[in-house]
Subunit: 267 residues, 2 copies
Amino acid sequence: MDNRPIGIFDSGVGGLTVASQVIKQLENEEIVYFGDTARVPYGNKSKEIITKFSCQDVRFLLSKNVKAVIIACNTASANSLDDLINKFDVPVFGVVVPGAKEAVRVTQNQKVGIIATIGTVRSDAYKKAINIVNANVQVYSKACPLFVPLAEEGWANEEITRLTAEKYLKELIEKGVDTVVMGCTHYPLLRQCLQSVVGNEVRLVDPAYETAMAIKEYLVKNNMLRVAETKPQHSFFVSDTTDMFEKICSKALEKRYSTEEIDIESY
Amino acid sequence: MDNRPIGIFDSGVGGLTVASQVIKQLENEEIVYFGDTARVPYGNKSKEIITKFSCQDVRFLLSKNVKAVIIACNTASANSLDDLINKFDVPVFGVVVPGAKEAVRVTQNQKVGIIATIGTVRSDAYKKAINIVNANVQVYSKACPLFVPLAEEGWANEEITRLTAEKYLKELIEKGVDTVVMGCTHYPLLRQCLQSVVGNEVRLVDPAYETAMAIKEYLVKNNMLRVAETKPQHSFFVSDTTDMFEKICSKALEKRYSTEEIDIESY
């Protein structure tokens, strides 16, 4: 057994969807969440800067004595997973590999679409991860930078969002994909709109659930589950205190948590 | 005379429109530009974080021996100008006061609209600056968080952008404003669309030009103009190297400049 908490970091609020899945699938585990709200987003930045920020994020989580780290941010998973694994002794999990595996599992025509940030698409990480599992799967990627601000505006059901989705997804639909990975933690907030644009026969994959299952499998296999009779206590840290974090946090986790602000640049 | 350069900082690329105006209006001056591309945007962050980042930005510019600092970013001008003036010995200019003065000058019905980021609207800085000049002017503000990503996508002439502008500007139009301040450096990229939505009788104010005129007036009055026969050499620094900066830089300044990456967190 290992009663230390699981660390989760993200560029901001998006990773709370991953935290929510981890809490659901591993209900006896404690989590320490860090959202880098001062430097959000990571999605349009260079690999070098994303990796630098991600290292600071991991160092902060290690200061909280975590037993494993989940990179909830797709952009950081896609750009920095290998560097973080090499640099730190703690086991590190990204969201890309679990999402890629699930896409390979569900596709029937071997054509998969990836929608993600500019930084994730540039990295080609989903394509690489999918083709390691099955080299015959065709992968088509499309960066969708407007989806995050549309989700944050709460415009999930607006005509503007539908038109934007049609514009971004046109190419993928034309390629005939039967599976689309929502490769950014915000995108599930637009799920209904995305589903109606791609059509009901196309499967949308959300890597958050798959990631939670992957860490569960790892902890079980390595005998690292928390064994304690006390209820788990979760902690939330941010690098900038904004209303949005607390609002989305209580919505995603269906409970109010207080958050503490820390100076991430000092890590 | 004072042959030192003028420092200009912004959260990213947007401030290049201000730099362009300064270069045009003060063609013998040298500028040092810093774009905080690693931590962009500032628009949805707290006053405290915006001020912390702005102080680092000024310290970096001071290390380049600048004679004055222009905050090209509306969000930083709106949230941090007073703190920067108090903290540093160098003269500091924001874009809000020049924009506000121009709005008061051009409005005929004393009803002015402000469109800006969440952080600028929250600060109420434009309203305060306008009402210092003329307490009778009614000011209506609207945060438009989608305009920056729309401008960065290059979607200035898309139906999506028109619908978004109609949605954001509806309230201001209903209030009967005859003047709208484009209170974010990206918005002039959408000028044509914005003008068609508000109608030709409404004046759009771009604070960049007014800011360049304000610093010119200051330098003349204080005998601080550069007097040299050599052509001015401009320098550009960023905290993250991305294609977008160089692309927008050569477009805005109609010339290619090389940029140097620096570690802003160490300032």
